[in-house]
Amino acid sequence: MLNYVLRRGFMALLVALTVSFATFSLFHFATDPAQTIAGEDAPQEMVDDIREQYGFDRPVLVQYGDWLGGVFDGDFGKSYFWKQPVVDLIQEHAGVTILLALSSLLVTILIALPLGISAALRPNSWVDRFALSTAVSAQAIPNFWLGLMVIILFAVTFPIFPVSGDATWKHYVLPSLVLGASSVPAVMRLTRTGLLDVLSSDYIRTARAKGFMGYRLILQQAMRNALLPIVSVLAVQLGNKLGGSVVTESVFSMNGLGRLAVESIFNSDIPTVQSLILIFVLTFVLLTLAADLINAWLDPRIRMG
């Protein structure tokens, strides 16, 4: 088990480093950071001065090592655009995104699991067909457009919730619904097929023969195994929501990490962009790692094998 954890952890770290180095090089080869800091129409001498002062004339690998060394000390560099440490920026914005990601995950679970389970219990019934057509249509709706539609409906026509911002819990209701809806098709389909698979297995037939019925059969016997893939997909979806927050936060004007990422891309603020990508990637690999470990804990076959 320890061996398994170490191997997976090492892999996760390697992935995070590769991706972050790739983004670092991309921006360093494609944009001129010295020019960005100096401003569009700064004189050439000033740009050269800055290039030397910040060390942009050194090889990319050296610069990356330098930055990464800082990261381990909790120093992500200084934003070129906002002129303050990236750590402060991230601390300011992280709360909104974490709250949004978690609440939208809750929305996903509350819609997708019941829908998927009831579809699997009665395959090819009207419930099943309703669930599948919901999934098909939800997949076709552009998420940002759904955001605008719920704003028009629930913030303007029926002014129940605020249009935009992130001040109170009321501000989170519509964004969570919209971001949560984006994961419903995937989670719902996986719940349905997973449970259908388990329900046709031998041990469930044995359980039925022994007299297990109804909710005890589903919840105590079947769901335990059907949960394995769902745990994985939920972890992945939670990671995706960090990326999805880019869109949702822009639509609802929330000051989270996603919107920060968009603005720093627009301002070619390299330190902020690369720090955010490193954080997003690390979160994603850690979440999938956690899901693997939970699965190993739930399922002895993975743990022992």
Binding site: V15, T18, Q139, M149, G243, V262, I265
Partner: protein
């Protein structure tokens, strides 16, 4: 270890790993004829295909079918409502935008952009993913491990953020958007091609080709690849839909198709400032996107149903 299929969170193509089994009643028909026979009975496929056909005709013949020039500004006719609203006119069926351009004409021309991007990006992704999948599945070993590492990296990055960064760095144009969406959406092709290749390379006809002295490259291209067409076609349609939604999102955020091109995502972004008073500016392009994407998905699901019949149900 977690499978990539779970990571992708979509099981709609799960069935491709098992070999197709043709239903009774289609005995004596070639697989293609049997598939076509099933296709004629598949409602979703027919509906999706029909809608797409109509939209494709509009996209292809947009300059002749659109009632007005989509770039023609007329500031005295700004923000006219659609014909069913008070103040609308038959001259401008779906009204006009903030610069007085005919909305219907812009929507029709927008179909061209969406379709070009969908087909272009999905093709680029297919070339990358299928090549890597054949390599990884057929050769295995360190090639397989390297490809697997590449997939893990690709999946770990929020793809929208990566696309935005790339577009920003390279510059905004239709070609760049197609290219960037293409090079970030190849994982599905790879996963399916790889697992199918793993299965196929154990079969007798590959051994026969090997015995006849075919090179590994020849076997991969002319023996294995033709057997993957069905699966690749299904993924291709689904990826077209994904690419179209990605382009719309990108254009909405201001890092996609540059103005004044009539991209549906961009039209929504332009209409957003006026959406509380002229909501149709935002609603109409969204509906167009929804219809196009759902038609493509229906077609994709239908093609899967009729070509790969062994579904778990």
């Amino acid at each position: 270890m977690m499978t990539i299929r779970q990571t992708l969170g979509d099981v709609s193509i799960a069935s491709v790993e098992t070999p197709p089994e043709y239903e009774g009643g289609s005995l004596g028909l070639t697989p293609t004829k049997a598939a076509l026979k099933r296709a004629r009975k598949h409602h979703g496929l027919k509906i999706g295909f029909g809608i797409l056909l109509v939209m494709a005709v509009f996209a292809l013949f947009a300059p002749w079918l659109a009632p007005h020039d989509p770039y023609m500004q007329n500031l005295s006719l700004r923000m006219l409502p659609p014909v069913w609203n008070e103040g609308g006119s038959w001259e401008y069926l779906l009204g006009t935008d903030h610069l007085g351009r005919d909305y219907l004409s812009r929507l029709i021309h927008g179909a061209r952009i969406s379709m070009a991007i969908g087909l272009g990006a999905a093709s680029i992704g297919a070339v990358i993913g299928v090549t890597l999948g054949l390599l990884a599945g057929y050769f295995g070993g360190w090639i397989d491990q390297a490809v697997n590492f590449l997939v893990t990296c690709q999946l770990a990055v929020p793809s929208l953020l990566l696309i935005m960064a790339l577009v920003f760095v390279i510059g905004q144009s239709v070609t760049v958007v197609i290219f960037v969406i293409g090079v970030t959406h190849w994982v599905f092709y790879l996963v399916v091609t790889r697992s199918a290749t793993l299965r196929l390379r154990e079969l007798d006809f590959v051994a026969a080709a090997n015995a006849m002295g075919c090179s590994k490259f020849q076997i991969a291209v002319s023996e294995v690849l033709p057997n993957l067409t069905n699966q690749i076609m299904v993924i291709f349609t689904l990826e077209v839909a994904v690419a179209i939604l990605n382009e719309a999102t990108l254009s909405f955020l201001g890092l996609g198709i540059p103005s004044p091109l009539p991209s549906w995502g961009l039209m929504i972004a332009e209409g957003k400032t006026a959406m509380f008073f002229q909501p149709w500016l935002v609603i109409l392009p969204g509906i167009a996107l929804f219809i196009l994407v759902i038609a493509i998905n229906l077609l994709g699901d239908g093609v899967r149903d009729v070509t790969v019949t062994n579904r778990r149900n």
